[in-house]
Each structure stands twice: as structure tokens, then as C-alpha cells.
């Protein structure tokens, strides 16, 4: 408004101002010249506002990519990176070779507000910047999660039986993968060595459950773990991508001690993103089932069993709410675009755990439903909020990455 008033004033001074400056008051150009001469008497340096200067300062800030990816001489802060339900996760790390194609090394240490600790180191060669479709990686990891949920085994466990246990383990793995446009496959081999103990928060698992109900709690062997996976991704390169992804994983856990916990796990995962007419509304579906089969006379340790419940499972239940050797999980989401970089979603989840293969089926499923918001780039979900409800109440999940 002030600007318009000034303009009106300028446009309204032809005769006097023109007379003052010697410009021709009886011409259009003379009037304009008079306005300009008048303005020239009151010039002030052009500058941007303080608010804009501050905002520009923020724009030139190296956050977040430079700090969280490159860091200072490779040293960088770390946020996140532990399983859901770990609390707020923070830490630091070091990376070498970010601008190289042949090799990259990184190491991180993390802690969470629940007191969890995690450290890892990995060597990748060639790196993701290489054009090579074949990648290899060696990784070592240490974890100390001190209050993991345990509600008992089986699909009818009671939420009121919630207890806690601690897992402190070390893993060393080597893997190699072939990654192409529509197909990838890989193989892995590693050693697992761990200690399962009482939860730092009570009640501890052994206070509520018998040894028979917690196989593997009293003694933990060292495992040789090996396996492989194959994925067929029939996705197009649209925004968002639509199509079908099929993945199968097979893992063998060899108890290097007595063989009491030898088992094999097979996991199948099918995901589909189907546009309902246009990509602005997507029906996303996932079916996942995992089967851990103990060798004759052996058991699957409870801490390596499958679970159902949590941010990437049935969202209306707590993390690890149901646990057993096998599970089945179904997720259905309807996502609709409200902004190019933001979708809303309504979803329904269902699943169960079970011990015997013949219990596989879609009866007696636990279910939840809810509403979510996702912000995303063309290829990744950057931030996600899901509010879900089940018979055990509401759960709110906040985090990055897709549910599936």
C-alpha cells in the first residue's frame, strides 16, 4: 500500500517537479523525467531485508546433506538407524571415500534415549558411484539393546504379560550382490555371537516366563549364518513408481556349539503399487510370510524369531507384540497425492504368528487400521507419520522411510 502511495505521489507531481528540474512539464517524457529527478534526490542503497539475509544464511548452511553425509573431514553426526521402538537415536561416524568409486569405508556409533548402543563398520567395494552392477561389502556390527519387548510366544500372547530382555550381540558378515534394473540377487555369510540377558527395565523376561516359553534365553550359541536373496522388481520409472516387487530370502543358522538351535528361515515378500486410474492415487499392497524351521531336535531361539507388530508391521500394535517361528503379514494402503511431494494414506494391517507350517492361513489375524502422512522425493519416502488403532489402542509412528 505504501509503495502504491509513493507511486501515486510520484505520478502526481509532474508540473512542479518538472519545473524544478527544468524538464518539459508539458510532455509525457518530461513528467517521467521529473519523477526520476525527484527520486534521484533521495536514493538509498538497495538491500535485502534482514529476514531475507538470515534466510540466505540458512540456504548456504551445509546442513543437512553436507553435515550428515560428508561431515567434517569425514566425521559426521548420525541420527536414527536402530529398529522402531528404540527411542531417539543419535551418534557419530566417520566416512572415507565418498567421492571414490573403488572403495568406501564407514563406521558409526549410536546410542538411544532408551540406553541402546550400536556400533558398526563396513567396507564397500566398488561403491554406489561405480557403474559396476556387482558390489561387495564386509560389515561388522555390535548391538546392545537393553529393553526389548517380549509378550510371550504365539499369536494369543497377552499384552499385559509384557516383559523385557536385553540382547548384546556381535555380527560379522560378508556379502556380494548383483544389482540390475529389474533383478538383483546376493549371497551373504557371517558369524553371530550374542548374549541374551535380563532387561534393564522390569519386569524382566525370566520373571514372567518359563525357560520352555523362552527357548534360547538361558544359553546362546555362536551361529554361522549364510544365505541369499533374489528380487525381481517390475517397477517403472514413473513418479511414484508402480508395479510389482517379488523377493525371496533364505538363511541358514548353524549353531556352532551343540546344534540345539540349528534352523533355516525362508521369507517371501510380495509388494504391489497399483495406480487407480492415475498415479495420484495408489493402492499399495504387501504380503509377507516368514518360516523358520528348526532341525530335528532343535529349536528356534526366541530372539531370532519373527515378530508381528510395530511401525513396519501391524501398526496398531507395539513393536514385537507377537512372536513365533513363523508369521504372515498383510498391509494394504490407499495413498492419494495432496501435493507432489506429500501423500495422505489410509491403511489396514493384518497378520499373525504361528509355530507350525500347517497353521499358515488367513484366519485369526490380528488387525489394525489408521491414517498416515508421507512426504517424499521422487524415489524415497523422506518422512512418515502413521496413526493407527487396534484392539490394544492407538499407536503413533514417526520416522523416515516407507512402511513397505
Amino acid at each position: 500500500m505504501m509503495m502504491m502511495m509513493m507511486m501515486t505521489m510520484l505520478l502526481g507531481l509532474p508540473a512542479v517537479a518538472a519545473g524544478q528540474t527544468g524538464a518539459d512539464a508539458d510532455s509525457r517524457q518530461g513528467i517521467l523525467l521529473a519523477q526520476r529527478e525527484a527520486k534521484r534526490q533521495a536514493l538509498t542503497p538497495e538491500r535485502v531485508s534482514r529476514g531475507e539475509e538470515r534466510m540466505r544464511g540458512l540456504e548456504t548452511w551445509r546442513l543437512p546433506r553436507a553435515v550428515f553425509v560428508k561431515g567434517f573431514h569425514g566425521l559426521r553426526p548420525v541420527l536414527g538407524g536402530m529398529p522402531g521402538g528404540s527411542g531417539f537415536v543419535y551418534g557419530g561416524g566417520y566416512v572415507y571415500g565418498l567421492d571414490r568409486t573403488a572403495v568406501e569405508f564407514s563406521t558409526n556409533v549410536r546410542a538411544s534415549t532408551l540406553g541402546y548402543k550400536q556400533a558398526d563398520a563396513q567396507l564397500s567395494f566398488p561403491t554406489s558411484r561405480s557403474d559396476s552392477p556387482i558390489r561387495a561389502r564386509v560389515r561388522a556390527e555390535y548391538r546392545d539393546f537393553t529393553e526389548l519387548n517380549f509378550f510371550g510366544l504365539g499369536t494369543s500372547s497377552n499384552v499385559d504379560d509384557r516383559a523385557f530382555y536385553r540382547i548384546e550381540d556381535r555380527t560379522v558378515t560378508a556379502d556380494v550382490a548383483l544389482d540390475t534394473r529389474f533383478f538383483d540377487a546376493g549371497a551373504t555369510v557371517g558369524l553371530w555371537n550374542g548374549r541374551i540377558a535380563s532387561g534393564l527395565r522390569g519386569p524382566s523376561l525370566e520373571e514372567r516366563f518359563s525357560a520352555a516359553a523362552t527357548p534360547g534365553f538361558e544359553s546362546q550359541p555362536e551361529f554361522l549364518v549364510y544365505g541369499g536373496h533374489a528380487t525381481v522388481a517390475l517397477l517403472d520409472d514413473g513418479f511414484p513408481p508402480v508395479g510389482l516387487t517379488l523377493r525371496i530370502d533364505a538363511e541358514r543358522y548353524d549353531d556352532r556349539g551343540t546344534g540345539a538351535f540349528d534352523f533355516t528361515r525362508v521369507v517371501a515378500d510380495i509388494q504391489a503399487q497399483i495406480p487407480l486410474g492415475y498415479r495420484s492415487r495408489i493402492l499399495a499392497f504387501r504380503f509377507r510370510t516368514s518360516h523358520a524351521s528348526a532341525d530335528a531336535g532343535a529349536e528356534v531361539p526366541f530372539y531370532l524369531m519373527e515378530t508381528v507388530g510395530g511401525a513396519k508391521s501391524i501398526r496398531g500394535f507395539r513393536e514385537y507384540r507377537f512372536r513365533d517361528a513363523r508369521n504372515v503379514l498383510l498391509n494394504l494402503e490407499y495413498r492419494w497425492e495432496v501435493w507432489t511431494y506429500m501423500d495422505l494414506a489410509i491403511f489396514a494391517d493384518a497378520g499373525k504368528v504361528f509355530s507350525d507350517a500347517d497353521e499358515f492361513g488367513f484366519d485369526d489375524l490380528h488387525a489394525g487400521y489408521g491414517f498416515g502422512i508421507r512426504t517424499h522425493s521422487p524415489n524415497n519416502t523422506v518422512f512418515r507419520i502413521d496413526l493407527s488403532r487396534s484392539v490394544e489402542g492407538f499407536r503413533l509412528h514417526v520416522g523416515g522411510g516407507p512402511t513397505f
Binding site: 509503495m3 505521489m9 507531481l13 509532474p14 517537479a17 523525467l33 536514493l43 538497495e46 531475507e52 540456504e59
Partner: protein, 554 residues
């Protein structure tokens, strides 16, 4: 104290000259050239904030509250030449050679000796350099995306020539095929890596960057943009005025060439029409120093998004439109964003540029532009006239400067630019009484129906013409006769000794023309033409049009 006196003078002038404001014509009307080149002391260089500008325009209310007609149109409702705009193809048809040459003064950078890189940036994954050639001329060097050769360079060159022909000041841009060994590095040159850190530019780093660039027979295809002559001052805003530029007295949102830029930008899909792609330059001309205003960086035009094909959502909606988000939330997915329904061609070098779904008035640039939002029907009509002037042959000649290797891609682009031209000009010309090109001839007052001329309306219009005498002293209008209706685009001018002798001074002959056409009732709004008598000759001095109402942008 000095400022107080100036303000007092302005206020006094305002009070003292109320009557003078009401005058419609001055002796030098119509003003064809606004001499806004008053000597200017060295202005400040400014840098604008990208996010501040973006979110300030999305959520803020920038620009004046007055939603009025443009403040710098002359009495013919045209834009005078100025430091902002030079009438070119819209007024006097340029030759094909001149259209193809555009702003170029030479043949581009000298390849006879190495180019010395003195500044560089990684620009995400696509490198960019600033170089000095053997002649000592400086250029900004940009590359096409690795996997989409020709995309950005062709768009940059073609759009530079079109926007220049329209009338905007634009830099000299060239496509050059260059050997990677052409580059040498000035000692101390640094490179901003992908994380924003400065590192020394070494030959190894340079080779690594150049390996990201596509090649043709081993040569790199680059866009070389010549440094503008003068002192760069940073961008101009699309609102307000510069406080250190005495020539800048009209708020930018009220400048017709900036409002009308919306029409040209829609035609050529220049979605990146924001302050950051403009440049004020302190130039020296005929002994005076003043600020000239340029449009820069046409790499995100047509189907190009500079570093990738244009994103499909951009140009069909704002990058972020809170009102649209609200509607989409409530729509539960049943409301499909229009861009989702668009089919794009399969010409990677052209990118996402099409004409079928294109809606000239529904088109949106990246984020709200205060000048675009204030565009009126008259502003759009002015721009549409210029859009319509380009012939298919002229457009084809300009597109050929993009040097596409695929003739089918080139043909598609020509066809699409022409199709969008017709949609754009047709839409805005048909919104208003489309009469223009008024001229006094021996046979009478001649004019043209632009919509019929360009085929945007079926022939069959008739013209109801009422003559009168206009007195600028008291703004009175005295009818001369009853209105007559004709199908001819030539109107007999009233004559008679008494009439002739009564004209002159503040008295003008005035013709009010309403166009009758069954398909266009809006054409009945009159166009009023003023003729000034000078001796025994009459000349067109003014044209009044009635703005058609336009749908707001948000």
C-alpha cells in the same frame, strides 16, 4: 533534511497538480521510447534468498494492494522501449536472419586457443564453468544432462532467441562443440563440490566432471553464455522498485512487459520466471550509466528442466499451492491433479512439452509471481498480439538453432510451439474486442480484426462505429453522428470545414468501435480510437480498450 525537502516537494506537487493528472494526452504522445536512462550513481549489488523468495511469494502478499491496469503502457496501449524492453518482432517484423541471430553479436567463444576456467560449480551432478577465451571474452559454460543430450542446450538457445525477438534483453548464448582438452585451469580455481564445499579444481577433478557429460564424436556439447557487458547487480524483483535506481519509478508488478511475460512464459513453458533468473546490469551507453534489466537462464523452458526433463507437475500447477493442497486433502484422491492426465511425447531431447493439455491461462510458473498475478486482459492482449506475429517458418528457423540431431524431435517441437502459439494468442485475443493496427489512410480509418486475421475466429464480424469529438481540457465527449455499422475494416472519417477547424489543441476526433460477432459477445465492449489533428493531417494518438475479466491465479 534533503530528504524532507524532497518529500515536501513531492507532497506539494501532488496537491498542486491534481488537475494535471487528469490530462489524457500530451504533445509527445504516443510515447514510443521511455528514456529511462538518467545517469545513475553506482548501485549496490544484491543477492536474493531462494527460499525466502519462494516461500515469501507462496505464503506472503508481495507487491502493492492496487490491482490496477499497467502503469507504463503508452496511450496506444503499447509498451514503449525502455531499459526493460525493446519492441522488436511485435512492431516491425524481423528478418529470419535477425530472428536466428537473436542477441548474438558474434560467433561465440574463440576456439583457437584453450579456454581458461576461472570459476566452477558442480551444480548438483551437472558441472558448470566460467571461462575466458582467446579474445579475453568471458562465458558461462553449461552442459546437458549426461543421459539427455541436447535437452537443456537446445531449450536455452531457442528460448533466448524467442524472448529476444519478443523484446526482452537477453544474453548472447551459443551452442559450441568443444574438445575436453580445450579447457585449462587458472591456478587457484576452486570447485564447489556436491556438498557445497570448496576444493581446488585439479585436472583430475575436471576430467571426472567432464566424464559426466555426454559427447558427440568425442566432443562436448556446451552452452556458452557470454558475460553481459557492464556491472552485474543481481536480480530484479517482480515487485517494488530499486531504491538506488532513479529511473525505476514504476513498481515492477505494474510494468506491462513483466505482467505480459506470463503469456510468453506460458507459450514457451518458461516456468522458472522468478527473480533468480533475472539480472540487473549497470551499463554505460552514450556517456550515461544506468541499469538495464535482463532475463537470464532459459535452460528450464520448453520441455527442459535444466538438469532433467521438466518435472511433469510444474507448469500445470504451482510448485506448492496451499489452496490446491486443501482441495486435494478433501478430494480423497477423487480429484486428480490435471498434470497427471497429460501425455508427453517420447522425444528425450525435447523433454516434457506438449500442446494438447496446455491451457494458456491455467498455466503456472514455479511459484506465484506478483506481476503475473496482476496481469489484466489488456496486458494479455498486448502480449498475445506479439505471440501471434511469429509465422511457422520463423519458428522453424529459430528451432533449427537448437541443433537437434533427430529431425523428428525438431519437427515435433516446431509443431508444438505453433500449436501452443495458436492456443495462447487465440485465447487472449478472443477475450476482448480484437481490433488493432489502427491507421489513418486516404480512404479512412483502417484497422484489423486480429482474431479473424489469424484464424482464431470465424469470419463474419461487423463493426458499429460512432464518431465524436473528445476535449481533453474537460474530458467531454460530443457525438458527431449516429453510429453506423459496416462489415468493412475501414471507416470513413467525418469531414467538414467546421469540424476540421475545431480540432487541434485539446480537441481530438474519437471513434468508438464495437465489434459484433455471433460467437464472441465480449467483442461488443468498445475499442476507442483517438485521432489528433496536426495541420490537415490526422494521426492515431490513443487507443482505449476495456480489459476482459481474467480468472485469478490463486
Amino acid at each position: 533534511m534533503g530528504k524532507l525537502l524532497v518529500i515536501a516537494g513531492i507532497a506539494f506537487g501532488l496537491i498542486a497538480t491534481v488537475g494535471a493528472q487528469e490530462r489524457k494526452f500530451y504533445p509527445d504522445d504516443p510515447l514510443r521510447l521511455d528514456r529511462d536512462s538518467l545517469d545513475t550513481p553506482e548501485p549496490a549489488e544484491i543477492e536474493l534468498g531462494d527460499l525466502y523468495d519462494r516461500f515469501g511469494h507462496i505464503f506472503g502478499d508481495v507487491g502493492s494492494d492496487a490491482w490496477t491496469e499497467a502503469a507504463n503502457a503508452n496511450t496506444l496501449d503499447e509498451v514503449p522501449d525502455s531499459s526493460w524492453f525493446t519492441n522488436r518482432h511485435g512492431v516491425e517484423r524481423m528478418s529470419v536472419e535477425a530472428l536466428v541471430r537473436g542477441p548474438d553479436s558474434g560467433d561465440g567463444p574463440d576456439l583457437s586457443d584453450p579456454w581458461t576456467i576461472f570459476k566452477s560449480k558442480s551444480q548438483g551432478l551437472t558441472p558448470g564453468f566460467e571461462i575466458t577465451d582467446a579474445r579475453g571474452d568471458r562465458y558461462i559454460i553449461k552442459f546437458d544432462p549426461l543421459d539427455i543430450p541436447e535437452l537443456a542446450s537446445a531449450a536455452e538457445i531457442i528460448s533466448t532467441k524467442l524472448f529476444y525477438a519478443i523484446g526482452y534483453h537477453a544474453p548472447e548464448n551459443y551452442i559450441v562443440l568443444v574438445d575436453p582438452e580445450q579447457f585449462v585451469i587458472e591456478p587457484g580455481t576452486t570447485l564447489e563440490d556436491e556438498f557445497g564445499d570448496e576444493v581446488g579444481l585439479t585436472r583430475r577433478r575436471l576430467d571426472r566432471l567432464l566424464n559426466r557429460v555426454g559427447r558427440t564424436n568425442g566432443l562436448l556439447r556446451v552452452t556458452a553464455s557470454k558475460y553481459l557487458s557492464g556491472l552485474p547487480l543481481g536480480p530484479f524483483r517482480y515487485y517494488g522498485t530499486r531504491s538506488d535506481d532513479p529511473n525505476d519509478v514504476i513498481p515492477h508488478e505494474h510494468r506491462r512487459e513483466l505482467r505480459g511475460l506470463r503469456v510468453f512464459a506460458a507459450w514457451l513453458n518458461h516456468d522458472d520466471t522468478r527473480a533468480h533468473n533475472t539480472q540487473d546490469v549497470w551499463v554505460e551507453d552514450e556517456g550515461r550509466r544506468y541499469i538495464r534489466h535482463f532475463l537470464l537462464d532459459f535452460g528450464s523452458t520448453l520441455g527442459s528442466g535444466s538438469i532433467e526433463a521438466q518435472l511433469p507437475n510444474l507448469s500445470y500447477q504451482y510448485w506448492l499451492d496451499p489452496a490446491l493442497v486443501k482441495r486435494n486433502v478433501a478430494g480423497f484422491g477423487f480429484r486428480v491433479p490435471p498434470y497427471r492426465k497429460v501425455e508427453f511425447p517420447d522425444f528425450p531431447a525435447v523433454g516434457r512439452y506438449e500442446a494438447d493439455a496446455y491451457d494458456p491461462h491455467g498455466w503456472r510458473n514455479d511459484y506465484p509471481n506478483p506481476a503475473f498475478e496482476r496481469m489484466t486482459g489488456r496486458d494479455a492482449f498486448w502480449a498475445a498480439k506479439i505471440v501471434a506475429r511469429f509465422t511457422p517458418e520463423e519458428i522453424a528457423a529459430i528451432v533449427a538453432t537448437g541443433q537437434y540431431s533427430d529431425p523428428a524431435a525438431e519437427a515435433y517441437l516446431v509443431e508444438t510451439i505453433v500449436a501452443r502459439q495458436h492456443k495462447t494468442a487465440g485465447f487472449y485475443l478472443n477475450l476482448m474486442n480484437p481490433l488493432d493496427e489502427f491507421a489513418v489512410t486516404a480512404a479512412g480509418l483502417a484497422f484489423a480484426n486480429l482474431s479473424e486475421r489469424y484464424g482464431y475466429a470465424e469470419p463474419g464480424a461487423s463493426y458499429e462505429i460512432a464518431w465524436s469529438v473528445y476535449d481533453d481540457a474537460d474530458r467531454s465527449v460530443a457525438p458527431l453522428s449516429e453510429a453506423v455499422t459496416t462489415t468493412d475494416t475501414l471507416a470513413a472519417i467525418p469531414s467538414g470545414t467546421d469540424l476540421t477547424q475545431s480540432l487541434g489543441g485539446d480537441r481530438y476526433l474519437r471513434a468508438e468501435i464495437r465489434t459484433h460477432h455471433a460467437g464472441h459477445p465480449a467483442w461488443r465492449e468498445p475499442v476507442t480510437v483517438y485521432l489528433r489533428a496536426s495541420g490537415d493531417r490526422l494521426a492515431v494518438v490513443g487507443i482505449d480498450r476495456v480489459s476482459a475479466p481474467l480468472e485469478p491465479m490463486r
